[in-house]
Symmetry: C2
Subunit: 697 residues, 2 copies
């Protein structure tokens, strides 16, 4: 493993706070303790993250733009070899194979690589987080001894062959079959039609010599559902496909072009019986199937549950990428000037424009919330995967939380990197300033490792199940009554927080209205009530058809699908809010608490503003208070403006992580040079007179 | 020019309408007349568009993915040479130089090239729409004779050197100077500091041998503001910079990598006096400055007004790109199946999922609105640029409309192409399916030819000016009273449309509420009132400081900047709505009127939903009606589902425009093959039994 290097290098925090028209007397202002917040953001794995950040500074791991497709792919493979030689990938694996058995730390380290090159990150993720992890989690000792060492060392580059052209998120329906032949004690892997080709597989186009292949296990005429098999696919010497195996290159993609994605198909390929990764299901030499999990459904979800680490790590990676994008755009915005300011002869810094603040600071607040929420998720993951608290309930909760947070943070990254790129204008479009490249590479994060909409629907189904559990044994009429009361806000108003939802009786002034919304208990209640009410509304609709035909039930579910996904999103937002609130509650430094409290408020009020129509139509926030929300956000922006550089400084990026010329301080130097030029010209008495001024005389 | 080829080729309209659970008895359903709507979408230049679409089918003009930066640039140059040899670029230019003097038609043809390759489009746009157009519009006969023929023929590839590293949208503040030297009768072009380097200039990195350079014109010690100069920059033989000229390559970008963007700087470069493009301002041999436009401000805006054609053409191009993205994603969605459907043994087509409809159909409606709005804009452009109705007022109206529509349509394209790519999952991320490439290429459209936020602020200033004009001579108190009445909805409610805004008195049923919102006059009033009220609110805020110091006034303006930009967006949406409504009013075919009416409703109600919080807090729509908006949108989605393929068919794309394997029908064939496989297996009696079924027994 990499040693912990002392962090003596210069930090990329612009030294001087530029003049701001928004900041008043800076002396009496509260001040963020940047080092303290930086420690908070490092979460539960501070040392691992610092080590990984040191690794990410190595220029051998940095993305280079303008390479051809082949060059990018070869570079990523070379980067992985360097990584493997450094033992970076060992952390998750068993101690007897040189690892540390540190599941959570492994993800923390992985996440930090996003600043170096997402292609390296994902190509490594395919090798160690999917291919080798499948052997580890779905295989048993024989597979660990036989296949895992070469997978870990990269001697065998591998593909993770789950997705098919015709089946992405619906893994249970893959068409590839693995039929057991007791005569030869082999499985026969077969692709029965074009839609069952494995597709979008990292490493499959060129580098993989083996694959973990998901296929329907058929023995003695019974289909036992999807299992995973270890299948050699290429001759390591020649790079040619082995007999019966074929494939195609997925070619150029929207990003991540260092990863060689491709397709695979199998024509009755025979593998030994023992190549079935048999932790959760096995076939005896005579073809008898056995499993420790009796229910085929639960067995399937248990096997797929090992995939949750991908989702967890994407939540963390995209949060760091969002932070990097904001670091670049906000640094530039604090130096770049455009159009005359209120100060004569001086152009205004971009960050002093209200619109510019509006575009970037709420996204900064969201990113902060994600840092805290991600740490909660990472701990939940480690609890289960370390075996420390590996219960069914914990696994289900982990999967639900990951399925809610991964969509929110991956979409947020695309949105934030795009806004950051636009906020930097033409320079934001240049590859050298990194925003476009990061966005392109992260684009696929919203549909891989579980399509975001499908994941949110999973969360929604869990919310509906939990909701229904409350009513075990209740009649349909009881249920309808409860839902009606929930929707009418009875539960909400009886929760002791009447002071917010007084639609018609709201006679208090605007200021008072905002005060009520600033209370954390009220905020929690508003966010929680929105989830509960949306679910109750959907539950009531589904309840109406609970005795109807399956097609009618399916139609009713579909008619509420959009709302269900919105409810899941609301639930994810609530988890982020709770994590941020808990983190804030733990702060004792007064200045930090104040400034971070404003960030928390900005995050929360941005949620209220986004969902204001819902709160208004449901009578949870009055029109009068609703009107004040936007004004309060604008006041928060003014307050946060002078603390912006501190807030991005706490991300702890160093120049080797940033690498964007516009965020290097060069823009500040250019602006100073321009102003000095005009000042000298005026002083020289040789400045041309403006035509307008000649007319005034 | 290219001949009008008869359109005998096969159309890319999937032949069969797939089974849809949403469509009921198809026989009695209204039907869109696809050919009629296709003609409507072609707008005022049907023949020109058909010709240009034929050109765009030529594979020599098609983008190829995976090329290196150099290869992409050389290919784009070669494409332009082919184009030039075909005379494609002549349309806008004077008849005496072989052109057609068809300003509007030229843009229509240009717009259609987006389906071939945006790099080709924009590199050509730089050459003919900016470099040559500057010579045409800012120069006089001498320049037309001397420089224009080679610019048109591409003998002289040129750059349009306006933007500087330190000044993008604020062109008036560029640092480059052109100082007149009467002794030699030359201008001296100079770059005084790094921030004044010209930057992001297409053709500047490699191919341009001349540039139209914008610089502060200084003569006799007076700065007459920004003018444009013709400056040779490279030796055509060697490709080396001429003495005194230097530059840098902008390198790899987020997209449009066929365009070689670069930087230029000038060290006291001397050019003849006559290289000033002197249509709006001239310098006599003795250094005396003259201009037909007395006001320096108006002169500047007149010169920059010639740039409006870029904005107009981007509005059209991005609308076509959005249509193409939707064509690809909706075709795929109508064939691709995922997860079990209500029909046993059959998986459900993506387009039958409510969420999928929600993601794509409102964007389809928006795209339709943009087609109609763009045609209004293109006609306004042609009225001015043909000279037919070239008045100050028309120019200003044209510029305001372009400044409002270009931001909306360019953002819409990025949003739509992204949603389309996500809706296609992993296959959407492959370059071969075109969505990621189109999005990457179009990314810069939102910040070039006028940054979207800056353009919308221009619109907002115009709206404020118009608002203030109503009150010429009024006191501050009068103004405040009027604004208060406007905000309170007095103007709105007295407009005879009381039936919508009855916040507290709304006792009618939900259905009735939606009925009221379906009336076009009501829709118009709601959209118009929102603009008027937002502007009145801002006007009232600014009125409070009208006697304050300039810094206080600037601070007040800044405190309302975000709202002002939102008001401008609302104004743009109103223009789109009006254009769509007018187009719909002209339809006589009953089926078309019905289906297109639903598209219009979907567009309008999506606006109401988006701005619902505003309408609720301002009492324009009651909470009860507000709650019904989303439900009505969902009903519209169900209604439109069976007409989706007709609606995208009316875009008139042919296979050579689409070129995405997933929209070729291949997915439908794959799905049919998979279903046939399982049907045959079942029929054979050899299908494995599902483990679940063995347990039930």
């Amino acid at each position: 493993m990499v040693d912990t290097a002392p962090r003596t290098t210069q930090r990329t925090t612009p030294a001087s706070t530029p003049a701001s028209q928004a900041s008043g007397a800076a002396g009496s202002e509260p001040k963020l303790d940047v080092a303290l917040v930086e420690r908070m953001l490092r979460g539960s794995y501070p040392e691992v993250r610092l080590q990984a950040r040191e690794v990410a500074k190595d220029s051998r791991f940095h993305k280079v733009d303008g390479y051809s497709l082949d060059e990018q792919r070869e570079r990523a493979l070379e980067q992985m070899k360097v990584q493997a030689s450094q033992g970076f990938q060992l952390r998750a694996f068993p101690k007897r194979l040189g690892g540390l058995e540190d599941a959570g730390g492994n993800l923390a380290a992985f996440e930090e690589l996003v600043t170096a090159d997402p292609s390296l990150q994902i190509k490594g993720g395919v090798q160690w987080g999917l291919f080798a992890a499948a052997i580890l989690h779905l295989g048993t000792e024989y597979h660990h001894d036989t296949f895992l060492p070469d997978a870990i060392s990269l001697k065998v580059p591998g593909a993770f062959a789950m997705t098919e052209t015709g089946h992405g998120s619906d893994v249970a329906s893959v068409g590839t079959t693995a039929t057991y032949d007791p005569d030869t004690e082999e499985f026969v892997i077969d692709t029965p039609f074009r839609g069952a080709w494995k597709d979008y597989l990292g490493n499959a186009a060129k580098h993989a010599t083996a694959a973990t292949v998901f296929a329907q296990l058929i023995t003695k005429g019974v289909n036992h559902g999807v299992h995973c098999f270890y299948v050699p696919i290429r001759d390591a010497e020649t790079g040619e496909f082995l007999p019966g195996i074929g494939g195609e290159d997925d070619g150029h993609k929207g990003g991540l072009n260092g990863v060689d994605n491709g397709r695979l198909h199998f024509d009755h390929v025979r593998i030994p019986r023992t190549n079935l990764l048999n932790r959760y299901g096995d076939v005896a030499p005579d073809g008898t199937y056995t499993s420790s999990i009796d229910s085929p459904g639960r067995r399937f979800f248990t096997m797929l549950g090992t995939l949750v680490q991908g989702r967890v790590s994407l939540d963390g990676s995209t949060t760091i990428a969002s932070a990097l994008g904001l670091f670049i755009a906000l640094t530039y915005a604090s130096q770049r000037r455009q159009f005359a300011s209120a100060v004569p002869g001086q152009e205004q810094v971009l960050l002093d424009y209200q619109r510019h603040q509006r575009r970037l600071l709420p996204r900064l607040a969201q990113t902060y919330a994600q840092y805290f929420a991600h740490d909660v998720l990472l701990n939940a993951f480690d609890d289960v995967f370390s075996g420390r608290a590996d219960t069914d309930e914990n696994r289900q909760n982990l999967e639900t939380l990951a399925a809610a947070l991964k969509p929110l943070s991956t979409w947020h990254a695309l949105d934030t990197l795009q806004e950051a790129r636009e906020a930097c204008g033409g320079s934001g479009f240049l590859a050298e300033n990194r925003l476009v490249g990061l966005r392109a590479d992260l684009d696929v994060y919203v549909t891989f490792e579980g399509d975001n909409n499908v994941l949110l629907q999973l969360v929604g189904k869990r919310l509906l199940t939990d909701y229904a559990k409350q009513f075990k044994g209740a009649t349909g009429v009881d249920l309808a009554k409860f839902a009606a009361a929930q929707v009418a806000g009875k539960a909400f108003n009886e929760g002791g927080i009447r002071r917010v939802g007084q639609n018609l009786r709201d006679l208090a002034g605007v200021g008072h209205g905002i005060e009520a919304l600033k209370d954390h208990e009220t905020q929690r209640a508003l966010l929680q009530d929105r989830v509960d009410t949306m679910i109750a509304e959907i539950g009531a609709e589904l309840n109406k058809v609970r005795r109807a035909t399956p097609p009618e039930q399916a139609a009713a579910f579909n008619a509420n699908q959009d709302q269900l996904i919105e409810a899941s999103r609301a639930w994810g937002e609530l988890q982020q809010w709770q994590a941020f609130t808990d983190a804030l509650d733990g702060v004792t430094d007064a200045g930090t608490k104040t400034v971070l409290g404003w960030v928390h408020s900005l995050f929360t009020f941005t949620l209220f503003e986004k969902h204001l129509a819902w709160y208004l139509t449901h009578g949870r926030i009055s029109a009068r208070r609703g009107q004040a929300v936007t004004g309060y956000i604008n006041r928060l922006l003014e307050r946060l403006r002078p603390h912006t550089l501190d807030l991005i400084g706490a991300f702890g990026f160093e120049p080797e992580h940033v690498r964007a010329p516009i965020a290097s301080g060069a823009e500040g130097i250019r602006q100073d040079e321009a102003r000095a030029h005009y000042a000298n010209l005026r002083a020289s008495g040789e400045a041309p007179i403006d035509e307008k001024k000649t007319k005034k005389r």
